[in-house]
Symmetry: C2
Subunit: 346 residues, 2 copies
DNA sequence: GGGGTTGTTCAAACCGCTTTGAAGAGATGC
DNA sequence: GCATCTCTTCAAAGCGGTTTGAACAACCCC
């Protein structure tokens, strides 16, 4: 059933039927009712391709997922993010388009989006420091918003980010207040902007108390369980080991706990952990009592908010770039406690 | 730059240019070369919407993700699956379309896909037993393949599945061979087809050795870390507790280990664990030495294979439904050991 | 040299929708 | 009663491609 057939059935022109369906005012209310009824009865809905060809809009948003061919890791927060964004798209009659692309192939994908007018806008994931994609998108004129930020980019753009710096400063402060002095940082890859900022927050809190920054206490890797485990296991064997771990992901935190318990130590007593928690639906931080003390921020909510931001930017192309900085929630769980008393050297 | 402009520049008709670009034989090789060069020089690529309107194909595949509004869980394997599928789409010039949809709204989405000709086919995720979506898709005539299977459906359809029954039978056998007699099953939701089959495998192995099936040793829930933890904690407190756990997901297995260690027991000595492992990129089962003894099958590979299956089905609409049954790999890790000697009752 | 091939190109129709510009029918004003 | 407005509807022209059917030229064979 297409528009031509439907209008023939109704004995009306395509013009009138189209206008009736799209809510234009210049159509008699009686005929509009008839049209809507007939459309429903014959289960008509417009062909998306034809519609977007005619209007120039595509009613689709692109998400480009870079995947480094070397470390074949899919960002584990991605599922939750798009489920938040997907809700918004569904409510606004937009489609979500996903492109998995090898690192480096992104430029072509974005240019293709524009020239082939596949999507009306894109959400940029996983911004790195000085991320070149931002200037690229500005240049080719494809509306976009960024999940995160990119230090070192001067052109204005829209973004939504967690305040990673303050979050990790607060977390570090929290540990310092408990008396910890040797605090390890298990960070994500530090060319990623969020990881960079987290490190800044950590260093800032230490410096504020005139404590040294010890490179041997810092690791930066992809945030897997294994990373948490091996880094912790190694650090616990050296003389004067850390008494607390600040971890960038709950997944790695699970590995940290594993190493701690394997070493015969007790989490929250012998060694403390604070982790960042993205409120992933499949990896909640305990049930009623949180397992880990954590800085929490829902990535699903971020998906909702950011997609909304993009849609309103598309509707209103002349508006200025917007930005949102989310503060984390610090929830205290069972993984932190006062620093153990220092063993006196004989 | 569109086709009209490009052909004007070349002094050729749109027909010839279009044919040259699409590799039709009735075009002079010399002109084809000229056309291709000009297309590249002017950075021309066809408008996707116009193209699919003209051809009737949309070059897009739909993935419909049901999200129960009650338990707001995004399937954690989803990210890896689509990253596998995405590779295949990229190589074949297909787009991937994602629809997040509230449970129950799926029928409308599928019908919309068909009537609005949004996609050329869909991949069906998370089949339940007697899944009604399969008959629906057959009825509306939208090409589809299923990730998994649906017991109780008689109409033929294409699918790719892990042999869940044999996997869990083997795993149970493995534990039985180690002397375990009280083996707990922490399963996914058993209206999901895969979980149902896993249970069958478990029961089959027990029955084959004339062992009783004890309902108090079986739990069926969403496969979170918390589920693994609470179920294990509870089961370990009863008299005559299980000595081994068969777990449906590595995420839950992490919770099981947490409960075991919290109870002061040692995994692999006091209590054994076997888990199913989907080879998730962000949750690998240890590095060189696997943490858990596991039945493993890569969900990313499944994504690759299944999307390939769908594309070939679309190209060849009259072909018969295909199916693939993948056998798991049983990898022995540190989480299993002989059953502890039975304490003699006095 | 006329009929039949083959190779190459083109104008025009078409895909299914939106939107412009025009036009018919009443209603209104003077 | 005629010009002028609204209200409502319509035919036709896009949007940017693909595909059909025809045309033209060159070549071949008797």
């Amino acid at each position: 059933m297409n528009l031509k057939e439907l209008s023939k059935i109704l004995g009306l022109s395509q013009t009138t039927v189209s206008r009736a369906l799209n809510g234009y005012p210049e159509v008699n209310e009686a005929t509009r009712i008839k049209v809507l009824a007939a459309a429903k009865a014959h289960n008509y809905s417009p062909n998306l391709r034809a519609q977007s060809l005619a209007t120039g809009r595509s009613n689709a948003i692109g998400h480009v997922i870079p995947m480094a061919s070397s470390h074949e890791m899919v960002n584990p927060i991605f599922g939750d993010f798009i489920s938040g964004a997907g809700e918004v798209y569904a409510a606004n009659n937009y489609e979500m388009l996903l492109s998995i692309v090898q690192d480096g192939g992104e430029e072509n994908v974005y240019r293709g989006f524009k020239t082939r007018s596949t999507v009306d806008g894109v959400i940029l994931h996983g911004p790195k420091m000085n991320d070149s994609r931002i200037d690229l998108l500005t240049e080719i004129g494809l509306p976009f918003v960024v999940h995160g930020r990119a230090s070192g980019i001067s052109t204005p753009y829209s973004w939504l980010d967690v305040n990673n710096r303050s979050a990790f400063a607060r977390a570090t402060d929290f540990l310092l207040d408990l008396g910890h002095r040797r605090i390890a940082l298990l960070n994500g890859l530090e060319f990623m902007d969020f990881a960079h900022r987290r490190r800044l927050g950590y260093e800032e809190a230490l410096t504020a108390r005139h404590l040294p920054i010890d490179a041997s206490l810092m690791r930066s890797e992809e945030m897997t369980e294994t990373f948490g485990y091996t880094a912790t296991r190694d650090m616990l064997t050296v003389p004067n080991p850390p008494t607390a771990f600040l971890v960038s992901s709950i997944i790695s935190a699970l590995g940290v706990r594993r190493a701690i318990e394997e070493a015969g130590l007790v989490m929250g007593r012998d060694v403390s952990i604070i982790t960042h928690d993205d409120s992933l639906s499949y990896l909640t931080n305990g049930a009623d009592v949180p397992i880990f003390t954590a800085t929490r921020s829902s990535v699903r909510d971020a998906g909702r908010a950011l997609s909304q931001m993009l849609l309103s930017q598309i509707q209103n192309p002349t508006s200025n770039p917007q930005s949102t900085l989310l503060e984390v929630e610090l929830t205290v769980g069972q993984s932190t406690g006062p620093a153990p008393a220092v063993k006196q050297t004989a």
